[in-house]
């Protein structure tokens, strides 16, 4: 074996080993959460209110709360994020104003989530009088998700070759028709990936919902968007640290449900992605 081939083999081994190290924590977390939380899994756990100081019963209100928050977040952040990314890529001229918007989008993603929580509390809960509510929480989570949605949508749009736009425009299509028929169908898979990623993050965040929506204990479902709800990540925090003598399997069970929820969202996005990739038209 000559030197170059040996070095190739070493490089291959080292790179492979490092990659293994990267997925190791994920596998360990999954193993840990599943092995300790599986015992809590039951129909009752998913569909019952917590009882007896949260030491018994289930997590139904928290599960519903988190689902509602994800839907609320999606309702605000998807249109806002995708439409503004379309504007930035397809319409905006390259000037100081546009560059400042792009810069602030990048910087927004660097802000700690607890700061979003404080911002949401000040603006939505107090100033706009929404109170601690699904509305305030969704808006806060939506603002937090925007940078990732905008950035990934921008990248997906920019990855569509300029020539696609040229043919469409040269055939007499308007800019909007070009975007609708020749750009978006090809960008949708990329947009979905970024969107689901950021919504998964929103589903698991505790800090932004701490002051804006999350309830400590609320054993009934919300009646309007101005009601508070329980949420899985906050419930997990509460039963792990604030309430004594909650069985360990309840904490890990809650975590397991949260992970399953996020996985489910990813599966849906994979299915949608495959669907759009095949159709290329919608």
């Amino acid at each position: 074996m000559n030197g170059a081939k040996l070095r190739e083999k070493i490089a291959f081994t080292v790179l492979g080993f490092v990659t293994l190290l990267v997925i190791l924590p994920i596998l360990l977390i999954l193993y840990y959460v599943i092995s300790r939380g599986w015992g809590a899994m039951s129909w009752e756990f998913l569909t019952q209110n917590p009882r007896n100081g949260m030491k018994e019963g289930g997590i139904f209100p928290a599960l519903v709360g988190t689902i509602l928050l994800v839907i609320g977040t999606m309702a605000f952040s998807l249109p806002l994020g995708i439409l503004s990314a379309i504007y930035l890529v397809e319409y905006a001229r390259d000037n100081l104003f546009t560059r400042m918007i792009k810069l602030s989008v990048v910087n927004l993603s660097g802000i700690p989530s607890i700061v979003y929580g404080l911002f949401g509390f000040t603006v939505f809960v107090v100033f706009l009088h929404f109170g601690a509510s699904i509305l305030a929480g969704s808006l806060t989570l939506a603002i937090m998700s925007l940078p990732v949605i905008i950035t990934s949508t921008k990248e997906a749009l920019e990855a569509v070759p300029m020539s696609y736009r040229e043919i469409s425009l040269s055939l007499g299509a308007t800019r909007w028709q070009t975007i609708r028929y020749c750009v978006l169908p090809y960008a949708i898979p990329g947009i979905l990936t970024g969107t689901v990623l950021s919504l998964s993050r929103a589903a698991g965040e505790t800090a932004p919902i701490l002051f804006t929506v999350a309830a400590f204990y609320l054993p009934h479902l919300p009646r309007s968007v101005f009601d508070q709800v329980m949420a899985l990540p906050y419930h997990l925090y509460v039963i792990s640290t604030q309430v004594p003598n909650v069985p360990e399997k309840f904490s890990f069970g809650t975590g397991l449900v949260l992970i399953a929820l996020v996985c489910l969202m990813n599966v849906v996005s994979i299915v949608l992605r495959a669907h759009f990739r095949k159709k290329k038209q919608w």
């Binding site: 696609y164 469409s168 425009l169 055939l171 007499g172 028709q177």
Partner: protein
């Protein structure tokens, strides 16, 4: 030169930022003929072509001065509707740019966006005719649902031409339409140009001088943004008036 002018370019100047890319172009493009624009890379021939259907609008910091009259209408006027213009002035690009869709969807794209869908039989008649015009009907009539990307490059380029024809343009612009094709395919496309000029006014940009000599009726030679010479192709290639044209076509530079 005795001909009916289709496109009349009058004192056209174009700037990319500070760069003066087209300098006082004065040119009459004849109806139902093939006009070739030749010149070395960067001389502005593609830029000139793209001014005729306002594709340069897509580039930032482009400024045009002067007039381009098509049927007496100044298409550079800001009030000109580029959507209408581009239906009238079709364009075929260097790479055969078919959409990653079926042959039929490619052909119907223009009709769909212009909301000109007719009854199924009428639409299929138009599709039939356009494919007939570009010599693809016999090959493709049974595979209209196939993805257009599976065709050969030459067939894809013919399909692009058919797609333009379906918009019933008056003028078709070709931006180096054969540079991705092999010599035999190139020859066949050139023959197609000769057929199409019966119905359309054709303008072709090419860096291939033999192609201009073979396929065009009139030739314009551009150099550094100026139109050096324009005339019947036979004259330009046998008896150019300008020394520079002579040098270029005999391969001394460019």
């Amino acid at each position: 030169m005795e001909f009916t002018t289709k496109i009349s370019i009058d004192d056209l100047n174009l700037f990319y930022g500070d760069f003066h890319a087209l300098k006082s172009i004065q040119l009459h493009i004849p109806q139902n003929n093939v006009t070739a624009l030749i010149g070395p890379s960067g001389c502005g021939k593609s830029t000139l072509l793209r001014t005729i259907n306002r594709m340069n609008d897509l580039i930032e910091n482009v400024r045009t001065e002067g007039r381009i009259l098509i049927d007496g209408q100044n298409i550079l006027d800001p009030s000109m509707d580029v959507v209408t213009l581009r239906q009238k002035v079709g364009m075929v690009f260097q790479r055969p740019n078919v959409f990653d869709q079926s042959i039929l969807d490619n052909l119907l794209f223009g009709m769909r966006i212009h909301r000109q869908m007719r009854s199924r039989s009428q639409t299929m008649d138009l599709v039939h005719k356009s494919l007939e015009d570009v010599g693809l009907w016999d090959v493709l009539k049974d595979k209209l649902r196939k993805n257009a990307r599976t065709l050969s490059l030459e067939q894809q380029q013919r399909l692009c031409i058919a797609r333009v024809i379906l918009l019933t343009p008056a003028i078709i612009l070709f931006d180096e339409p054969c540079s991705a094709l092999d010599p035999i395919a190139t020859m066949r496309i050139e023959e197609l140009l000769k057929v199409l000029r019966e119905q359309y006014t054709l303008v072709i940009v090419t860096h291939n001088m033999q192609q201009a000599a073979r396929a065009s009726d009139y030739t314009g030679f551009l150099y550094l943004g100026e139109l050096i010479e324009f005339g019947p192709t036979a004259h330009i290639f046998t008896n150019p008036r300008q020394k520079m044209t002579d040098n270029y076509i005999s391969g001394n530079f460019g």
